[in-house]
């Protein structure tokens, strides 16, 4: 099994390499460049030429890729084209913020989603199941920015319990930070909850008809034990896959929530960089995000191998 897992991890790294190339050349393909984006409406051919020359955008792309990759391996992502600051220094603190937000949201949403999913599956068709399923459906049908607005309206504007902005800065105490981040976390939890919840429920229902579940009941095990110990491990693979997907989303896809709460995360950084065609920053963010996704997927795959003994035998 160890070999299988190691192989899987190796493949993850290879994927990342492919992603890096795709990112690099893909972003270079995007129409427009930093010069044009910097100038906006004021882009005159002469001004464009000046900037391009100053930034040395004339080298062949593959050469720049190799340079970039070499640097990236040493943690050096180059300098930003717009601000001339080192990209690493720009991305790192933001990435920290993003990870904080994502991990808090994950910490709340994963147990709640899986827990409620379990509960719904156990009481299929019951009141709790109906209620949970209705609520979760409502929450996913609302766009995330709107969830954010509504939460702000209620908790910040009307009740005044929490700040409407989640600006983070050095001088804040932990309590202040937690208060500031509460609404974005709540928004994200609401956004990702339903998917994991419903997948947990349906994956469990699918295995609940298996003979070994019947047997577990015949051993006199209480319902909770049966579901947790016998059904859950057999239903785990799709649940893990969905959880990984949503965790990935929490890290990579929260630009909208960042914008609504003015949270200084890496998503906003990337969006700004894309619109300014600040490619070193885009590529660094993209690579970090890709690493997150690939990492999460790799872990999910490994977990699937671990929970299903049959997958351990190499075919």
């Amino acid at each position: 099994m160890t070999r299988l897992l190691a192989e899987r991890a190796g493949l993850g790294l290879l994927t990342l390499l492919a992603v890096s190339a795709l990112l690099f050349f893909g972003t270079n393909l995007l129409p427009g460049d930093v010069a044009a984006a910097l100038l906006g409406q004021d882009a005159t051919p002469e001004a464009l030429h000046n900037i391009r020359a100053a930034l040395g955008l004339e080298q062949p792309a593959w050469l720049r890729y190799l340079h970039w990759l070499g640097g990236a391996l040493h943690g050096d992502f180059g300098t930003s084209l717009t601000s001339a600051r080192p990209v690493g220094a720009q991305v790192l603190p933001r990435l920290g913020n993003t990870l904080l937000l994502a991990s808090l949201a994950a910490l709340v949403s994963v147990p709640v989603a899986v827990g409620l999913g379990l509960l719904s599956a156990m009481r299929e068709g019951g009141l709790i199941d109906r209620l949970v399923s209705l609520l979760s459906l409502v929450t996913i049908s609302v766009p995330e920015f709107f969830v954010g607005y509504v939460l702000t309206l209620v908790f910040a504007v009307q009740l005044g319990w929490l700040p409407s902005l989640a600006v983070m800065h050095g001088g804040m105490s932990l309590a202040e930070r937690l208060a500031a981040i509460a609404l974005p976390v709540a928004t994200l939890v609401i956004v990702v909850l339903a998917h994991m919840l419903r997948m947990t429920r349906s994956a469990l229902l699918a295995v609940m008809s298996a003979p070994y579940i019947e047997m577990a009941f015949l051993k006199g095990l209480p319902r909770g034990t049966v579901v947790l110990r016998h059904a859950l491990p057999n239903a785990a693979a799709p649940i893990i896959a969905v959880v990984a997907l949503n965790l990935g989303y929490l890290v990579v896809g929260v630009v909208v929530v960042e914008a609504v709460f003015v949270y200084p995360g890496a998503g906003q950084l990337m969006v700004d960089a894309v619109s300014k065609r600040d490619l070193p920053v885009v590529q660094a963010c993209g690579l970090v995000f890709a690493a997150t996704y690939v990492g999460l997927n790799t872990i999910a795959d490994m977990l699937a191998i671990i929970v299903n003994p049959r997958l351990r035998r190499p075919r």
Binding site: G32, A37, Y149, V262, K276
Partner: protein, 486 residues
Amino acid sequence: SVPDDTPASPGGALRLGMVGGSTSDVLDPRTFIDWVPINIGYQLMNGLVEIDAAGDARPELLEEWESHTVTEWVFKVRRDVVFHNGKTLDADDVIYSINLHRGDTRSPAKVVLENVLDIRKLDANRIKITLAAGDADLPATLSDFRLLVVPDGFTDWANPIGTGGYRLESFEPGVRCITRKTGQYWKPDAAHVEAIEIIVINDPVARVNALISGQVDVINRIDGRTANLMKRNARFQVLRSQTGQYAVLAMNCESDPYRNNDIRLALKYAIDRASIVKTVLNGYGTVGNDQPIPPGNRYYDTGLGQHIYDPDRAKFYLKRAGVNRLSVTLQASEAAFSGALDVGVLFQAAAARAGIELQVKREPVDGYWTNVYMKAPFCASYSDGRTTVDGALSKAYRTTSSTNDTNWRRPAFDELANQARAETDPAKRRTLYGACQRMIAEEGGALIPMFMDHIEAGSQRVQGWRPSAIFDLMGQRIGEKVWLKS
């Protein structure tokens, strides 16, 4: 209404919630393109010339000016002004700061200074500027927000040194900026608040929420609907500035069918400006008349007839152009101006009644200025208010202008505009500018449906706050001008 402010009192922290900041922001004036860095720039540094509430040029670091011919100007540099680093301001600093935007530079202000032939130091406190062509409005031209003054030879843009009332404390691009009072500002009766915090809030709803929930004192750029609602709440004040900012639907006069002025006129009569101002701006704006000078301007030609919504007249022009049914596509995006797509949709409905089939094509926000603007034959765009009429005309209507987005070229117009620029007699100048306006309105490729007001809102605590003639937030100098009711 005349606000009844409390007397100016020092202290407190002013918190601004602003749209217009990005993570790529740098405090180098040569890179300024959006509001947040400009506002910070004015906190840390001073400009050469200031525009007052009436729209007139007022001395700032350039204390006095005189010109015998309109091509040669002598400016006196203000004495006894000290930079944050202790250096005293002199002519060299001013010349260095202006020259940052001349010659080999990436500064967009280069265009503004193109007419400048030479800047020379006369003595420690006097400089002489020589122009290629006469410009009676040079001082106003020098009020450009990028022309901020730093010490001679200064390059450390991460930590700009200026003569402003505030010093940089922390700056997180696209997130937050804090400045603190230096305590030794040269302007009298200015820089009241102890500290200024700017929080970048690009999302419009979040901005309003931040104000309502008391996390910021002032926000910029709210829309008309929101303004009306905020007005009903006594805790807030709403300010409206008419700055000459306008929306434009630019037709390329060198491509079909817009080549034909009758087609252009047909479109100009097929749009219902009044209902657009009412619906899209909620009344916070003025009907445009297809030329860039707003009604409040002293050179505005009142004699020029207003283009109104008149389907029959539009049909008449169509017929004259020899077409029965006109089918055109307007390319638009929220990047052009906020509400551009709504304007398109309203235009579409109105044009249909004039027998014009108008398609509105939504273009990506990303890359709009590169991929669509100046490339599409008919697209949405906007223009800031300009401090001078010449600025407004030069920007998009002169043959040589690099942002002539309608490809409308009339040597006669250029001639008229040059004459007007060098003309010092106000009456004669008014006549010349009137002719310019008429020419653009009747022959130009710009369909200018509306002038859009700037609306900003804030808490009643903020005192000494007034509408501005240019940009919003008191020409982005709100930081040094307002104080807080304790």
